[in-house]
Symmetry: C2
Subunit: 482 residues, 2 copies
Amino acid sequence: ARVHEPRVKAVEYPVRGPIVLKAGEIELELQKGIKKPFTEVIRANIGDAQAMGQQPITFLRQVAQQLATIPELRAVGVGPHRAPPKPPPLLIACGAGCLTGAYSASQGVNCIREDVAAYITRRDGGVPADPDNIYLTTGASDGITTRLEPVYLLCGHGAGNMRAFDLAYSYALLSAVLSELGAVQVNYYLDEDNCWALNVQELRRAVREAKEHCDPKVLCIINPGNPTGVRVARVLCFWKVPGAALLVPESSRARPVPQVYQDNVYSADCRFHSFKKVLSEMGPEFSSNVELASFHSTSKGYMGECGYRGGYMEVINLHPEIKGQLVKLLSVRLCPPVSGQAAMDIMVNPPVPGEESFEQFLREKESVLSNLAEKAKLTEDLFNQVPGIRCNPLQGAMYAFPRIVLPPRAVEAAQAHNMAPDMFYCMKLLEETGVCVVPGSGFGQREGTYHFRMTILPPVEKLKTVLQRVKDFHIQFLGEFA
Amino acid sequence: ARVHEPRVKAVEYPVRGPIVLKAGEIELELQKGIKKPFTEVIRANIGDAQAMGQQPITFLRQVAQQLATIPELRAVGVGPHRAPPKPPPLLIACGAGCLTGAYSASQGVNCIREDVAAYITRRDGGVPADPDNIYLTTGASDGITTRLEPVYLLCGHGAGNMRAFDLAYSYALLSAVLSELGAVQVNYYLDEDNCWALNVQELRRAVREAKEHCDPKVLCIINPGNPTGVRVARVLCFWKVPGAALLVPESSRARPVPQVYQDNVYSADCRFHSFKKVLSEMGPEFSSNVELASFHSTSKGYMGECGYRGGYMEVINLHPEIKGQLVKLLSVRLCPPVSGQAAMDIMVNPPVPGEESFEQFLREKESVLSNLAEKAKLTEDLFNQVPGIRCNPLQGAMYAFPRIVLPPRAVEAAQAHNMAPDMFYCMKLLEETGVCVVPGSGFGQREGTYHFRMTILPPVEKLKTVLQRVKDFHIQFLGEFA
């Protein structure tokens, strides 16, 4: 074997794993004219909104078009699409670094980091954010991989000996990074019967388990389904360990459960509470001590600009020495793509009332969000009509994570194929219907339970077809393995 | 100390190191109105062409502008700026992945990889390139960091125990990555007296030295100043070690010596020879066995599009098992920015005679290249007029790496400040003239010799000022420490 490195071999990333490779093969076969019971593969495996037909927000694209004509027009938000005209902020704030054709500062363009900080301050009702704590990234996955890697390296006790404590219903990306780093990962489970709530008792159990292997250092929370302030505070109280860090992808991609994206909240009784805001309300003992890193990106939220690879990370209470090392490591990668940084700027600094672009922007934003809300309801309702499928309400984001009951004979058949039972199910679903979803085992699920993750991004009519196909398949599958 | 990880502490990246931080401080002081003997800092430390006033190539920006209006217009090279119109290649070849707002394949958009392969095939006079061996990257530094990391991990013998053999006049970025990986780095020196030629005898010496520490696995060559085919072949013969790999940033950034960028070759007696082409001429024993990875980016060459973060890596003879692992690791990062991929496509697929944009494109390209050639000559000539500075001819690229003679009293003064002598020199140069260059010690230089690296990117008149300031400073410095 040429591959000597067990850490690399151990990496798994189910969102783009074997089932997605199979989807690619099937697409090639369809292109070659091979007959299938379907005419196209529907990729409901990854939150890729525009690939599923969502239209870009016009304002963002108008500004991107202006930026492309640099150096004639050198600033985000200048030009016909933004009125009243403002002085060009990028030009003033960052000198040469404002050109889309030049490198920016490694941490990101200064005035964009200021805009991000202002956005977070507004989001958290005035709790201040410091631009110096903002790091622009190449999408959230870059933030979490190349930005987190040094954080782990720095907080841990040396490579191969890393201590990490991780992760509610494992966020698949983080699991992959942890494998690559050789860190110890311990999962905790969310409470499916309670709409995927985060249960502090379960966290305690997981920490006890973690302590058998390591000295847990990092707690990762995908800001959970229904983060009432009280629940967030209980998690934070629980986690007040000196020198330990909290990682919160507050609007992350691979959340298998109905997750509250910052802007994509559908349930009337849900609101987004940031961990940082709750920390600030718990007094200086918490707000000045708990290390927190949180992530956001242009791919998620209502803009769905995945190809731009824009994102940010906010860190608070990071030790100055570690911060210095982090900046140094980032400088080796030079800078995130400037167009992605600009897209991030537009996301945190959208048109406001009085600006020429405001009406259209608002219309488009609301259209995306109401459309997602409609599809969330549709998905929940249809899944719950199928015998053997049970789906929690989708309170936000763009994914469903329904539970499926698999008959014992199906589990045996899967074992005979050397596959996890839900992988076996999803592979058959793909081969027979063209619908590509991700098996729950890729995210971590309680022993003996099976799920899959499906995005709700296809247009309504197509989504109805998808759901109908899944329903028909499921009933037939139950019959086949009864 | 909070930083437990010696590998992270060991990372140094001088191109964006302490001297650049100092430059930022001075800029802030100037903004605050603090009086200095100069009115602006000139950042000649990094190859950032557009930050120095180089105009973008219009065609690239026109296509970028079209791309921003996706989904109305979904393909690179379609629209008024490209005639005769072609069928939209991106749309046909990659389905949903062609949208700038969607994720692409992890390895990069298929048809862009095909264009890159066609470009390499043309470059190498018909030696075929396989799109499957092309990996699009987020600039070359991303290629070398996140893409190389797995290559090292996979070819080595486990973390902390890595075997690596590296590097002509160390390419600063690679040194940083090697430190992060905990790999052993052994430098070899280029022959300054022979216009920075790569000397095979010196390579042998370095391998002997390497063998005292490790089992050398990787040889890195910045395709050197004057790569006649003969010289390249001798290096390749020398390096035919089973299971060992060659890394060639064929158009990389941080080359301290006059390096032949693929398109930026000024000397009449220089031509670009790719290692791959030479390998192909040496017979199957070489062309089918030597593992080779080479890099290119939109930042370098004549386009100077640093902010787009576009790049590619070509690998040949990579073991299929390693390739599989590499693709898996890339998938965790999802994909490079699509706008950068599109910029790469334009770079390898520029307008051709008969297309509407051709005349202007050619004019702009030739203007950039002749301008660089003029500045290369200017720099060489002026440096060689200064007593105590000696500069080899700049045969290509955008950097000068002049040697400076430092008086013993200056070396003592540097030691008293706990600085490398050339760092001491460059810091004083920055403080007294505002000119920011990188000390030679950041790249590796023979014991007792001193250099600095300076880009030749400022516009001609400004470059003359810079050179005059360096000259005046140097003479005054010699007087001060005589």
